[in-house]
């Protein structure tokens, strides 16, 4: 434990130190200018204090971000649009809906690919090619177009998340559904069990470890998809909208707080998936 804890702590501290140095360096010219205008002393200590306490710094310090996070989490009711939890929930809702849709699509595609040779030869190359389309970059446009036909709110964002996260699930499930032991499959055949029965009793359970490995990747990707999907709706709810409004009004502390909240959300969702994995696979006797 200490073998890993010590290096991680040291690296984190180094990173924080670099952050403080960077903040001082980037904010320095602005801090000097502010002090000059207010005709206050411009000693090194004064400028440093000013650089670390600016209202709209180029690079906010970690403590400023933490304070902003804390204030927004505790200062308002969780349902208030001024609370980051509210925005995180809006983003999480879209991400999880998209993940569920991606899960269904991914498993259906994988089952089709595993059971149909024609589908394997024709569809699998396109599944791979689909990921070279920078959908994340085109996501705002998709939201606008779907908005034109009256689909707004949750669904367009969920569609983007679905597109992004079906791929790891399909790839993982193709591998997983094929990972059932051939001996067991033969045994199923000697029992004269049909294809559907073999799928439910053998192939699906065998694919579970692969599914969870893919899910952990997909959950993080789908949060990114939801955030980018929120960009064009400008000024409404969601962590992406917070990023955008922060960028409009030069509220750097708000941008950083939203960014940290987004990564906390990803980490929390991955932890949930990991917990589910432990419970489900533990019950199945995998470990």
């Amino acid at each position: 434990m200490t073998r890993r804890a010590l290096p991680v702590t040291v690296m984190t501290l180094l990173l924080l130190a670099a952050w403080y140095v960077g903040a001082a360096w980037l904010n320095w010219p602005q801090a000097v200018e502010t002090l000059m205008r207010a005709s206050k002393p411009t000693g090194v200590a004064d400028v440093l204090a000013q650089a670390y306490a600016m209202k709209r710094p180029i690079l906010p310090t970690p403590d400023q971000v933490v304070v902003e996070l804390w204030n927004s989490l505790t200062g308002y009711a969780p349902t208030s649009p001024r609370n980051l939890l509210f925005h995180a929930w809006v983003t999480a809702e879209a991400a999880l809906t998209g993940l569920a849709m991606g899960l269904v699509l991914g498993i259906l595609l994988a089952a089709g690919i595993v059971y149909t040779r024609t589908l394997e030869a024709s569809l699998l190359p396109w599944v791979i090619a689909s990921q070279t389309v920078p959908i994340l970059a085109i996501a705002p446009m998709i939201v606008v177009i779907l908005g034109n036909i009256g689909l707004t709110g949750l669904l367009p964002k969920a569609v983007i998340c679905m597109y992004l996260c079906f791929f790891p699930i399909t790839v993982g499930m193709v591998k997983g559904l094929r990972s059932a032991d051939p001996l067991w499959l033969d045994l199923m055949r000697t029992y004269s069990a049909g294809g559907l029965r073999a799928f439910w009793s053998l192939r699906l359970p065998a694919s579970m470890p692969f599914l969870f490995a893919s899910l952990k990747v997909s959950v993080a990707i789908s949060v990114v998809g939801a955030i980018v999907g929120e960009l064009p709706t400008g000024g409404q709810a969601g962590l992406g909208a917070r990023l955008l409004s922060g960028s409009y009004y030069g509220q750097t502390v708000q941008i950083w707080a939203a960014l940290i909240m987004a990564s906390l959300l990803s980490v929390a969702l991955i932890a949930v998936v990991r917990g589910l994995e432990l419970v489900l696979l533990g019950r199945a006797g995998a470990r």
């Binding site: 290096p7 990921q131 070279t132 994340l136 085109i138 987004a262 980490v267």
Partner: protein
């Protein structure tokens, strides 16, 4: 290997409905037969049937003849080529009808016929999928993509879907040709200027830090958990910050790309460097090879599959990073800028043209890396033919 043929393999004399009837032909024939009763188009509100003076029966007969001729082909693959020609001929029917000034929506006869052609295309792909070599690996996916494009074109033009919702592939192609100079400028700004520079900087930074972390294990143990954490952070979110810091031009895009590509490259390189076996390392030591020689001659070649994995992941990430960053501010050129402005002006065909260019670029980058990987790591087990 449990597929349809396993029944026949165990008992060649077993006859049942499943093997006695060609269900595929029925799936093609029944909808077309049923479709004969419905109109195939309408002329200013008047329904037009199959035999109402157009040349439609000509295409139907050609299609059916191809299927019959294919049944007599000495080899199934030859038959499949004949059927493919029949499908291509049948696809000319909607074009012919529209040239005659007819409307195609509400014409169930035509849509059932086109459905039949799609089922036949599926049968052709099933035959080709059984032939190893380029037919299986290139032709089948190509036909699948072609089928999707044709279905998209037929549905969008047939039901006259407004171009604001979804332009037909032919309109997108026209837009690409008409806007070629603009698209080329965008391509140059986004890909050649921002993406390539950021990609090279980010990947080499990740690679160099990985080498450093390999020499100093303390660094590796500290960086790896942070790298795993970074993969959970939505890195595209830093785009507005980078635009604020580095301005509107390519520098901010390259910065976003560097941040996005650094950790995937670092993690993959570290994993690759750890891929050499104890016994190989011992052998190198017995030769008296130092760290540098071992790295160059043994560990880096062994790490190549992992390096290429990182490079491939990063090739799409870099494109995504550049285009997203362009939404937050850019000179008046670039793919992200084009998409956001043309959406606002409702020029959806130009937007789709840009998307097509982006998709082709992404596939091209990925494909080039895959070819390079095949050339440089031909010895690796994963490259052996299946």
């Amino acid at each position: 290997m449990s597929n349809l043929t396993s029944d026949e393999a165990t008992n060649p004399y077993r006859t049942n409905l499943r093997s006695a009837v060609d269900w595929g032909l029925i799936a093609i024939g029944l909808p077309i037969l049923a479709g004969l009763a419905f109109p195939i188009a309408d002329r200013s509100g008047e329904p037009v049937g199959w035999f109402d003076g157009t040349n439609a029966p000509f295409f139907l007969v050609g299609f059916v003849l191809a299927v019959i001729a294919a049944a007599f082909a000495p080899k199934r693959v030859w038959g499949a080529w004949v059927e493919l020609a029949g499908v291509a001929f049948a696809w000319l029917l909607p074009l012919h009808l529209m040239n005659g000034g007819l409307m195609l929506s509400d014409a169930w006869g035509l849509w059932l016929f086109l459905f039949g052609t799609m089922v036949l295309l599926w049968r052709v792909m099933a035959v080709f999928a059984g032939v190893p070599g380029w037919t299986r690996s290139v032709l089948v996916p190509g036909l699948f993509g072609l089928g999707l494009l044709v279905a998209w074109e037929q549905l969008v033009t047939g039901f006259s879907v407004p171009a604001i919702l979804l332009p037909a592939p032919s309109r997108i192609l026209v837009a690409i040709i008409h806007n070629a100079p603009v698209l080329w400028d965008d391509f140059r700004q986004t890909v050649l200027t921002s993406v390539l520079r950021g990609y090279v900087m980010g990947c080499s930074a990740g690679f160099l830090v990985a080498i450093l972390a390999d020499r100093v294990p303390f660094l590796a143990r500290g960086l790896l958990p942070l790298g795993n954490l970074a993969s959970a952070i939505p890195v595209v979110g830093i785009a507005p910050i980078m635009v604020m810091w580095f301005g509107f031009d390519w520098q901010s895009k390259a910065a976003v790309i560097v941040v996005m590509t650094f950790f995937p490259m670092l993690i993959n390189t570290l994993a690759g460097l750890g891929n050499s076996e104890r016994i190989q390392l011992d052998l190198m030591r017995s030769y008296g090879a130092g760290y540098g020689t071992t790295l160059a001659k043994l560990r880096l070649p062994n790490a190549l599959p992992f390096l290429f994995n990182g490079l491939k992941i990063n090739s799409t990430l870099a494109l995504i990073g550049a285009i997203v960053a362009e939404f937050f501010g850019t000179p008046v050129v670039g793919m992200g800028f084009r998409i956001s402005t043309e959406v606002a002006r409702m020029n959806l065909d130009v937007v789709w043209a840009t998307i097509a260019v982006a998709a082709l670029t992404g596939s091209g980058l990925y494909g080039a890396l895959a070819v390079l990987e095949r050339v440089t790591t031909a010895w690796h087990p994963s490259m052996r033919g299946r």
